[in-house]
């Protein structure tokens, strides 16, 4: 085939910079970044978006995302995003946070962002472990998961239970749309993209707070191969975190 006949069917979203990421092979962040970028492109929001980053593996994602971004102290992205949104109510404001950031050190900020009904969208990466610091127990670590701080596996009697923050947030009146998806099946990834698009629409329509939780593999700290890590999400992690719509009071027709 000559070059003139070739048609571009796949490319880098404009909302991603042409940069190589530091993420490990098999890590879910790369998929999540791409989905988020595709959604912003499709809704033509790249130039109207301000994102807030967590402390965690995605702390330097401003090197990868091609739109305005702020870094917040650990767990404080919801507060920083609140400040940004109050100054620019016409912009799309999102936080991109991991489980330690959102469900441990920043629990209060997360709950109150949702409860105030801030017109903010949170992309919540749940990989059940602290990645950047080297594999310690996360609030979302499931029972039995071996981490560097639960060497015999997480035991509820000693370490407490995995926290389902999405379901907790669902009881706040300010949260309008919350869905949990997996990044480990083709169907799950497609579903996740729809969820992110819808979450942004919720914000654009001024309905309130929206969150998409993404179950995401961390092969490095789970000490699994990328393939085995994907399987572990699909067989083990979903037992504690069942995918699906957790809350939807949008009134949209697409349910």
């Amino acid at each position: 085939m000559s070059e003139a006949k070739m048609k571009k069917v796949f490319g880098r979203p404009a909302s991603l910079k042409p940069a190589e990421t530091h993420y490990c092979p098999g890590c879910g962040h790369s998929i999540a970044h791409r989905l988020l970028a595709e959604c912003l492109d499709e809704l033509k929001l790249r130039e109207k978006t301000v994102g807030v980053l967590p402390v965690g593996c995605a702390v330097i994602a401003h090197k990868y995302f091609n739109f305005d971004m702020a870094e917040a102290p650990h767990g404080r992205a919801p507060a920083a995003a609140t400040g940004i949104k109050r100054v620019h109510p016409d912009k799309l404001v999102l936080t991109y946070q991991g489980d330690g950031d959102l469900a441990a050190i920043g629990t209060a900020e997360t709950i109150h962002m949702a409860n105030r009904g801030e017109k903010i969208t949170t992309i919540f990466i749940n990989n059940a472990i602290y990645g950047m610091t080297g594999g310690q127990m996360a609030p979302t670590s499931i029972i039995g998961l071996k981490t560097t701080t639960t060497p015999e596996g997480r035991a509820s009697s000693r370490d407490g239970w995995p926290i389902d923050i999405s379901r907790m947030l669902a009881v706040t009146d300010g949260a309008v749309y919350i869905e949990r998806c997996v990044l480990t099946t083709v169907k799950g990834i497609r579903r996740a993209k729809k969820a992110i698009l819808k979450a942004f629409q919720v914000q654009l329509d001024g309905l309130g707070f929206s969150l998409v939780e993404l179950l995401s593999p961390c092969p490095t700290n789970w000490k699994l191969s990328p393939r085995a890590a994907v399987e572990w999400v699909n067989t083990e992690m979903i037992k504690s975190y069942s995918p699906g719509v957790i809350k939807d009071t949008t009134g949209y027709e697409d349910k």
């Binding site: 790249r46 130039e47 109207k48 978006t49 301000v50 807030v52 980053l53 702390v59 330097i60 401003h62 090197k63 995302f65 091609n66 739109f67 305005d68 971004m69 702020a70 870094e71 917040a72 102290p73 404080r76 919801p78 507060a79 920083a80 995003a81 609140t82 400040g83 940004i84 949104k85 109050r86 100054v87 620019h88 912009k91 209060a108 900020e109 709950i111 109150h112 105030r116």
Partner: protein, 364 residues
């Protein structure tokens, strides 16, 4: 609104001055003795179309300020000593990310919950900072409602000029007392210079990022710190503020700020009637501390008598300024108790005699 003379509580004067300085974003958490300020602004922001958010914590409030500052708004928070302790993380990040903000601190007694009386035992907290890293925060110490208004107004310009958080260090008494105030005219928000670093969507330009994590090699963080240090040098060179009161011929110069300076001034007036040559030196910027100016006074031969509503914190900056150029005496009251001018007169007379009978002589 014409700038008429108004009788106002100190905390209200701060709120009104902030609005006139163009502050449209307030985030705070209740704590005594400064609740009158957020209450004033909760109503006032409604009138001017601003934003008032009662945050879930001091930590959240300072990070809302961080977000609003990153987005380009003139933002502030307020609190009192234990609450300021919680804000230290955010203050460090504001410094690292070079974001402007105004933080009002109506100090109270400590440590721990302490009490709600007008102690100023947080000089170290506000001038040294409890956050991490090589940073400084300009600290302005007013001594009454009029100055609360003027310094709050000035703090927003200072914060924008240097892209830094600025703290107003008042105390519970200054916040509560009602005094006449003449306010500066409200600024026109449209005249504020455009900020070339803010996050407002990257339409027509490259995306921006505001962060304080510098992992790059080639000394990225080293260079960032040198840049901050250069800025602090410019602040030290240009922004020192202080007041000399009857120091020209003084044999003893009392050094005091805030409420303590009010008591000291009354005592100076009284002993002057008896012919004693005693004056007052009042630092208005606690950081940068007016080192050179105090040193100059010590070089003229005056004894230095430090008075604080604490057991001795600013006195360390006085010692660093004066060294062995003059005798230094200290008198401090902890726990939020307020001495009378008569007690101060005793201290001044003792310093003049050099006998160390009231307070103590500082031995270097």
């Amino acid at each position: 609104m014409p700038s008429e003379r108004m009788l106002m509580r100190g905390s209200h004067a701060v709120g009104e001055a902030a609005v006139r300085a163009g502050c449209r974003y307030y985030f705070g958490y209740p704590i005594t003795p400064q609740n009158e300020l957020p209450e004033y602004l909760a109503a006032r922001m409604l009138e001017v179309g601003g934003t008032f958010v009662q945050a879930e914590s001091e930590v959240a409030a300072i990070n809302m300020v961080l977000g609003a500052a990153a987005a380009g708004g003139r933002a502030m928070t307020s609190s009192s000593s234990p609450g300021i302790a919680l804000k230290q993380e955010g203050i460090s990040y504001l410094c690292g990310q070079e974001l402007p903000a105004v933080i009002i601190n109506m100090m109270r007694g400590g440590p721990g919950l302490g009490n709600i009386a007008p102690s100023t035992a947080d000089y170290f907290q506000v001038t040294r900072g409890g956050g991490n890293g090589d940073y400084h925060t300009p600290v302005l110490a007013p001594a009454g409602s009029q100055e609360l208004a003027e310094l709050t107004f000035a703090a927003f310009d200072l914060a924008d000029k240097y892209r830094t958080p600025v703290m107003i260090a008042g105390d519970g008494l200054l916040g509560q007392v009602m005094e006449p105030v003449v306010f500066p005219d409200p600024i026109d928000l449209k005249i504020l210079p455009r900020k070339d670093y803010i996050l407002d969507g990257c339409a027509g330009r490259e995306p921006r990022a505001i962060y304080s994590l510098f992992l790059g090699d080639q000394g990225e963080l080293y260079n960032h710190n040198l840049k901050l240090q250069e800025k602090y040098g410019r602040i030290i060179a240009a922004e020192v503020r202080f007041e000399d009161y009857l120091t020209d011929d003084a044999e003893v110069i009392v050094v005091a700020y805030g409420t303590a300076s009010r008591i000291a001034r009354a005592a100076v007036d009284e002993v002057r009637k008896a012919g004693l040559k005693i004056g007052l030196f009042r630092p208005i910027t606690l950081w940068p501390f007016p080192i050179k100016h105090l040193r100059g006074l010590a070089d003229k031969g005056s004894k230095i008598a430090v008075f604080e509503l604490s057991l001795g914190q600013m006195v360390e900056d006085v010692i660093l300024s004066v060294l062995d150029r003059a005798g230094i005496f200290f008198y401090g009251i902890p726990g939020g108790l307020i001495p009378t001018p008569e007690e101060l007169e005793d201290f001044m007379r003792s310093a003049l005699a050099g006998d160390g009978k009231v307070g103590r002589r500082i031995e270097l």
